[in-house]
C-alpha cells in the first residue's frame, strides 16, 4: 500500500464545483461540490439508478466535460485536455469494469485484456519499465484472477459471465492505471460469487496501487471498502447549494 501511495501521491480523483446538464435539458442532472478519492483509496459509491451514475462515470472518463467545475484524475484537469488527449489519458490512466458486455465477443480473453494496452502507450511503458511484456502481464493477472491458461485462448463469447467479469477486471488493471472505476460489476453474478469478485478486485487494486471507485446500488456490498459515499446525497447537497445561491 505504501509503495502505491508513493507512486500516486496526488489524489486519484478530485471533483469540485461540478455542474452537468445533458444538452437540451432544462436543469442540471449532476451537481457535486466536492468529491475526492485519495491515491490507492477504495471507495464505495452508492448510487441508485437515475442518480446520475453513468454521467459521473463519463465525466471521470473524460468522455464528456462539465458545464462548470473541474474534474481532475491523477492530478490532471481533464478540461484542460483536448478531446483526443482525454481519450488517450483515459486509456493510460483509468480502467473500467462495467455491469455487462465488457468484452469484444470475437476476441479471445487474452486479446481482450491486451486491448487495454493497444490504445495506451503509458500502460505499455509502465509494463516495460517493470521489466515485463503485455502478454506476460496479461498471463500473470489472469492467473491471479483465477483464469486458466486455456480460458485465455477462448473467444470471450464462450466464457461464463463470472469469467467475463474477471477478464474485464484484468483488462482494467493491466499496466497499473491510477484509477479503476467499476460500475455494478457484480450485478450479473450469483450472490455467492459477488463478494468473491469484489474481494478479488479490492486485492488486485491494492496490488497494483490503483484507487478503486466502486459504484453500486447494493449497499450490502460496501463492507470491505475504505469509505462509503452516497451519490444521491452528494447530488442533493450540490443542488441545494445551487438553489441557495
Amino acid at each position: 500500500m505504501s509503495a502505491a501511495v508513493r507512486a500516486h501521491p496526488t489524489p486519484a480523483v478530485r471533483i469540485s464545483g461540478l455542474r452537468y446538464r445533458w444538452p437540451g435539458s432544462a436543469q442540471d442532472c449532476l451537481a457535486i461540490d466536492a468529491l475526492q478519492l485519495g491515491a490507492g483509496e477504495r471507495v464505495f459509491l452508492r448510487g441508485p439508478s437515475g442518480s446520475g451514475k453513468t454521467t459521473l462515470l463519463s465525466l471521470v472518463g473524460g468522455v464528456i466535460l462539465p458545464q462548470a467545475g473541474t474534474v481532475e484524475v491523477g492530478g490532471q484537469a481533464l478540461g484542460a485536455l483536448s478531446a483526443g488527449a482525454r481519450d488517450r489519458f483515459r486509456a493510460d490512466h483509468v480502467g473500467f469494469v462495467f455491469q455487462l458486455f465488457n468484452l469484444l465477443p470475437w476476441l479471445s480473453a487474452r486479446d481482450n485484456i491486451l486491448l487495454a494496452c493497444r490504445f495506451a502507450p503509458q500502460r505499455r511503458a509502465r509494463i516495460a519499465a517493470a521489466g515485463s511484456t503485455p502478454a506476460a502481464e496479461a498471463a500473470r493477472l489472469a492467473a491471479r484472477l483465477d483464469l486458466g491458461v486455456e480460458l485465455l485462448e477462448r473467444p470471450a463469447m464462450q466464457l461464463s459471465v463470472g469469467q467475463q467479469q474477471r477478464v474485464a477486471a484484468a483488462r482494467a488493471l493491466i499496466g497499473r492505471p491510477g484509477l479503476v472505476v467499476a460500475d455494478e460489476p457484480t450485478s450479473a453474478l450469483d450472490a455467492d460469487r459477488q463478494q468473491a469478485f469484489i474481494d478479488l478486485l479490492l486485492d488486485e487494486c491494492a496490488a497494483v496501487g490503483a484507487a478503486l471507485l466502486f459504484v453500486s446500488h447494493d449497499q450490502r456490498l460496501a463492507a470491505h471498502f475504505d469509505r462509503v459515499l452516497d451519490l444521491g446525497a452528494l447530488v442533493r447537497a450540490g443542488l441545494a447549494a445551487e438553489d441557495a445561491r
Binding site: S58, A83, F98, R118
Partner: protein, 431 residues
C-alpha cells in the same frame, strides 16, 4: 500493427460469412466491369483490324460505309459492279503495287461466296499484319487452272466447323442469297460442284464465314446463265466451259495496296475522279473507325450497365456493414472506454469497408485473369480471338481507380454513422 488495423481484420474474421459474400459480390462486379472493358477494347481492336495492310478499297460509286460493309464484312449487297476495264485501269496506276478483285453475289448454305484471285491469300492481312493461315490444304488453283481444277474452293473455319466439311468435300453454290440461312436463295449451280481444297484457320474476320473460289470458277458456273437465271435449254457441262472466255467481265470490289502509303490520298482522288465509270475508293481504317462510332453505342451501354453492377455491389457492402453497426454499438462503446477516440472508431469502420472492397477488387482481378487464361485456348481455337492477358491497360487502371474511389466514398458512410453513434453513446449504450 495499429490497433485499428488489427481490430478491423479480427472483426471481419468474426463475420467471415457475410464478409466473404460481400467480397464475392464486389469481385464479380469488378470482374464484370473489367471484363466488359477488356472485351470492348479487344472487340474494337479486332474490328479495326478486320482488314489491315490494304490501303484502299475500290467499288462502284456508293457511300464509304456501305462499300466497306459489303466488300469486307459481306453485309448487304453492292448497288452496282465495276467493270473489268476499271479494275485494269486502277491496277495500272503507277503507285499501285497490288490489286485483288472481289466478286460477290453467290452463296453456299447462307455463307457468302467470294470470287477472287490467288493473290488474295498473299495480300490479305488482318490483326497486326497477320496473313491468312490454312488449317488444312491450300489455295485454289489460279487463273490458268486446267478445267478439272477450276472448281476448287477454300472455305472459312466456321463454314467447315458448322457443316463438318473436310478436304475433298464437294459443295454446291447457290445463285444470290447470302443473307443468312433463311435468306433469299434462287437457283443452285448443282451441275458444277466445287471441291474443298483448303480450310482457313479462324481469323476472327468475316472470312471465317466465307467460301472462296477463283474468279474464273465463278465465271464458269455462270456461262450458261443470263440475267440471274439459267438460260432455258442451254446446258454447258464443266468439261466444256474451258472453251469460253472465263475472264471476269465485272467484279464487286477490289482491295488495293500501294507502293507508298503517302500516295494514298492522291490515288484515292484519281480513282474517285476516274472518267470511265463512277468509282469510290475508301481508306478502310478511317471507314472502320466511322463504322465503329455507329456500333460503339452498344459497347458503351454495356460498360455503363457493368458500372451500375459495381454500384450495386458496393451498395450491398455498405448495407452489410451498416446492418452490423446496430449489433456492434456495444463493441464501439467498449472501445471508447478503452480509450479509442471517435476518430479511431471512424477509421475502424472505414478500414473494414475498404478492406472488403479492396479484397473484392483483388479477387475480381484474379477472376478476370483466371477466366481469361482458362478460356484463352478456346477463344483462340473457336473464334480466333487473342484475349489480352497483360497488365491492365490505361483504361482499366482508370476504371480500377474509379471503383476504389467509389468504395472509399462508400466506406465513409458506415464510418460516419459509427462516428456519430460513438460520440453520442460514449462508453455506455443507453438503451
Amino acid at each position: 500493427m495499429s490497433p485499428v488495423f488489427m481490430l478491423s481484420l479480427r472483426s471481419i474474421a468474426n463475420r467471415r460469412l457475410s464478409a466473404a459474400l460481400t467480397v464475392v459480390a464486389v469481385a464479380l462486379a469488378v470482374a464484370l466491369l473489367l471484363g466488359v472493358e477488356r472485351l470492348r477494347n479487344d472487340a474494337r481492336a479486332g474490328f479495326a483490324q478486320t482488314i489491315s495492310a490494304t490501303d484502299l478499297v475500290v467499288g462502284a460509286r456508293s457511300g464509304p460505309v456501305q462499300l466497306l460493309l459489303y466488300s469486307v464484312f459481306h453485309i448487304g449487297d453492292a448497288t452496282a459492279n465495276l467493270s473489268w476495264a476499271s479494275i485494269e485501269h486502277v491496277a495500272a496506276l503507277p503507285q499501285v503495287k497490288w490489286l485483288v478483285p472481289l466478286a460477290l453475289g453467290d452463296s453456299h448454305r447462307g455463307h457468302r461466296v467470294v470470287g477472287t484471285t490467288t493473290d488474295f491469300f498473299a495480300q490479305y492481312r488482318h490483326g497486326e499484319g497477320r496473313s491468312l493461315v490454312f488449317a488444312a490444304g491450300g489455295p485454289f488453283a489460279g487463273a490458268t487452272a486446267r478445267v478439272e481444277d477450276l472448281f476448287q474452293t477454300v472455305i472459312g473455319a466456321e463454314v467447315a466447323a458448322r457443316h463438318g466439311y473436310r478436304l475433298g468435300e464437294r459443295i454446291v453454290l447457290s445463285h444470290g442469297g447470302g443473307a443468312g440461312e433463311g435468306g433469299a436463295r434462287f437457283a443452285e449451280h448443282a451441275d458444277k460442284p466445287f471441291t474443298v481444297v483448303g480450310i482457313l484457320a479462324p481469323s476472327a474476320t468475316p472470312l471465317d464465314r466465307a467460301v472462296l473460289v477463283s474468279l474464273e470458277g465463278l465465271e464458269a458456273i455462270h456461262v450458261d446463265w443470263h440475267g440471274g437465271a439459267p438460260i432455258p435449254g442451254l446446258k454447258i457441262t464443266p468439261e466444256q466451259v474451258r472453251k469460253f472466255d472465263l475472264r471476269p467481265k465485272s467484279v464487286t470490289a477490289a482491295l488495293v495496296g500501294l507502293h507508298s502509303r503517302s500516295a494514298v490520298f492522291r490515288v484515292q482522288r484519281q480513282i474517285n475522279a476516274y472518267a470511265g465509270e463512277p468509282l469510290t475508293a475508301i481508306l478502310p481504317g478511317a471507314t472502320l473507325q466511322q463504322l465503329w462510332d455507329l456500333v460503339g453505342i452498344a459497347e458503351r451501354a454495356l460498360l455503363a450497365v457493368s458500372a451500375l453492377v459495381v454500384v450495386v455491389g458496393l451498395t450491398g457492402m455498405v448495407a452489410v456493414v451498416l446492418a452490423s453497426l446496430g449489433e456492434r454499438r456495444r463493441e464501439l462503446a467498449i472501445l471508447r472506454a478503452l480509450g479509442a477516440s471517435p476518430r479511431e472508431v471512424f477509421a475502424l469502420l472505414a478500414l473494414e469497408s475498404l478492406l472488403l472492397a479492396t479484397a473484392g477488387i483483388a479477387l475480381g482481378l484474379g477472376l478476370l485473369y483466371g477466366a481469361g487464361a482458362a478460356l484463352a485456348p478456346w477463344l483462340a481455337a473457336q473464334h480466333g480471338l487473342q484475349p489480352s492477358l497483360g497488365w491492365p491497360a490505361a483504361g482499366e487502371w482508370r476504371l480500377l481507380g474509379a471503383v476504389l474511389a467509389a468504395s472509399l466514398v462508400a466506406s465513409l458512410l458506415p464510418a460516419l454513422r459509427a462516428y456519430r453513434q460513438s460520440l453520442a453513446d460514449g462508453m455506455t449504450v443507453r438503451t
